[in-house]
């Protein structure tokens, strides 16, 4: 027996290590399925991206913490060294002031581009005034900038590591964006680092909407790291070049943020009635240096945005007040004209503002009043217009008819109020 173990020691160790890992895998795959009640099939890693966080067990979480703790400090060092070298070149050797000004202006442009995207989406819904009041609903109130310090190092796993963690206020499922578009969401948070699941990962998911056709779908990544929108029935209106925005229903990304642009449409290989819309992401997912984490989705605009909005409103307010003055002058002139034509108004008629007897040249809705008709004659004679000497009575318009009532609106002829 002893010779058996010593002879096959290598193979036995291999089998023991493999068995231990497979048991560990089985436990990990089983645990999330139990928690989720089997509602969603497992994907890579058995932890489908969900609003509830990573769903890892304590032991797995500890292993991830060790791995991150082992790798991220040297990564941080590499990142700092890289930034230092690049910073010395760009900040001191290569057109010092021009570079700094350019960087400042680029930041301003990026911020304004983000604001513009928010405003345009509201304008398309035709709720300009209401949207101004509730502009901040569904949009980020606070953001936290973070540096990208590393990746998962695996082509099947599109993850980023940030230099901020739970000590900086980050939590799982916070949205991560750049100035160009959305990047992903925070999957795991460690004390001083955080793991971001990018939108081009196979396990990611986000609700999106096509800008023109207003078709909704689910954003995810494919095996090649491309982003695609799935779950869409074949529709010939979807054309390359159409922008894709966040739909805002997933409680992670605010609506209206740029996601990408349609590059091509392919048929879903698994479901013939559906198509996959391949996107070019708006954010440069493979070249990210800095990102913004949306730490709070409260309905409060950032100070810079409030300032821009106030400036825009004051400029628009001057033009609006001039237009209002011209409109008031027109109404006043119309009322004066109406006072000079008292016969056009019937007694007891009310104006648009409810004041009886006051004359108005325009209707309540701004349309001109109907043309006056002659009052029907009670005792027609030969001088009455339309008098027929043969019949001895006048014809229209002095005689009211059933299907064409008089201008007063009633079937009875009315007396004239003023001679």
């Amino acid at each position: 027996m002893e010779s058996f173990f010593s002879r096959h020691r290598n193979v036995l160790v291999l089998l023991a290590v493999l068995l231990a890992q497979i048991i560990g895998l089985a436990v990990q795959v089983r645990r999330p399925a139990r928690r989720a009640g089997g509602a969603q099939p497992n994907r890579v890693g058995g932890t489908v991206a969900s609003a509830g966080g990573s769903g890892d067990g304590g032991g797995v979480m500890l292993l991830r913490l060790w791995a991150a703790g082992l790798v991220t400090p040297p990564e941080r060092l590499f990142h700092a060294l890289n930034r230092g070298v690049v910073g010395v070149w760009t900040g001191y050797l290569d057109l010092v002031h021009l570079q700094q000004q350019n960087a400042q202006m680029q930041k301003t442009i990026d911020r304004l581009r983000l604001e513009q995207a928010m405003l345009e989406e509201d304008a398309r819904q035709g709720e300009r005034l209401q949207a101004l009041m509730h502009f901040s609903q569904g949009y980020p109130g606070r953001t936290l900038p973070a540096q990208v310090i590393g990746t998962s190092g695996n082509l099947q796993s599109h993850l980023l590591y940030l230099d901020k963690g739970s000590a900086d206020g980050l939590r799982t499922d916070m949205a991560v964006i750049s100035a160009d578009g959305i990047v992903g969401k925070i999957r795991d948070v460690f004390p001083h680092t955080a793991q971001v699941l990018m939108i081009n990962d196979q396990t990611s998911g986000a609700g999106v909407i096509l800008e023109k056709t207003r078709i909704r779908g689910i954003l995810r990544g494919d095996a090649n790291g491309q982003t695609e929108v799935v779950g869409i029935l074949a529709d010939s209106r979807i054309q390359p070049g159409e922008a894709v925005l966040t739909a805002g229903g997933d409680q992670i990304f605010p609506r209206g943020l740029p996601v990408g642009t349609v590059t091509r449409v392919v048929r879903d290989p698994d479901r013939s009635a559906f198509i996959d819309v391949i996107l070019r992401p708006a954010a440069a997912l493979d070249r990210l240096d800095e990102v913004l984490v949306l730490t709070d989705l409260q309905s409060e605009m950032p100070p810079a945005m409030q300032k821009d909005m106030a400036q825009s409103q004051s400029e628009q307010g001057a033009a609006a007040s001039a237009e209002l003055a011209r409109e008031l002058a027109r109404r006043k002139a119309a009322e004066e004209m109406a006072e000079r034509l008292p016969g056009l108004t019937q007694p007891g008629a009310t104006t648009a503002n409810g004041a009886p007897g006051s004359n108005s040249a325009t209707g309540s809705n701004g349309t001109p009043p109907p043309a006056p008709r002659p009052i029907p004659t009670l005792h027609p004679d030969r001088f009455t217009p339309g008098y027929d000497p043969n019949s001895g009575s006048s014809s229209t318009p002095t005689e009211p008819t059933g299907d064409a009532p008089a201008a007063s609106g009633s079937g009875k002829p009315q007396k004239r109020s003023q001679p």
Partner: protein, 171 residues
């Protein structure tokens, strides 16, 4: 020098303890950091390359097995996937590479390129097999990508292995 003497001379090659710690750690860090620079063209698997190198050089299957398991598990720890998928793949590759190193002298550069290519492809296919076949999880994969990763490892190994050879200490 006879083949036996050559093998014996190779057998007494050892590395400083710092090399055993720092080289795998550097491989892990670079594997996580370099994709930031190279973007989607990061077709390599440095931790696996380190496992293959030490397994081939040390010629000890148990060491290769354990080194593959540890580095694979750490690789998995950096992903959102289940812990152990890469661990299984690297364990098997480490064991096989060490077993091969016991029987053959793998000093030829061309042979190293071929072995790196084959073992990397095997590891990639094992990852797919464990994920889809053993665990029954959904995973889309592209054979071309796996081949590119294997080719990348083969080329990097051509440069990396001689560099690591220089770190060994002769008694």
């Amino acid at each position: 020098m006879s083949a036996t003497d050559y093998r014996r001379e190779l057998d007494i090659r050892r590395y400083p303890m710092a090399v055993y710690v720092l080289v795998p750690l550097a491989a892990l860090v670079l594997q996580a950091w370099l994709p930031r620079i190279l973007g989607r063209f990061a077709y390599f698997d440095l931790p696996l390359l380190v496992v293959l190198y030490f397994s081939l050089i040390r010629r000890h299957p148990i060491h290769g097995t354990l080194l593959g398991a540890v580095l694979g598990v750490l690789q998995d720890g950096l992903t959102q996937g289940a812990i152990g998928i890469h661990g299984v793949a690297n364990t098997v590759c480490g064991f096989l590479a060490a077993s091969l190193g016991v029987r053959f002298v793998v000093e030829n550069a061309l042979l190293r390129v071929a072995m790196n290519f084959v073992f990397t492809l095997l590891a990639e296919l094992l990852v797919v097999f464990v994920t889809t076949g053993v665990l029954g999880l959904e995973m889309h994969w592209n054979l071309l990508t796996q081949v590119l990763v294997a080719a990348g490892n083969a080329v990097i190994g051509l440069v990396l292995f001689p560099l690591l050879d220089r770190l060994q200490s002769r008694n």
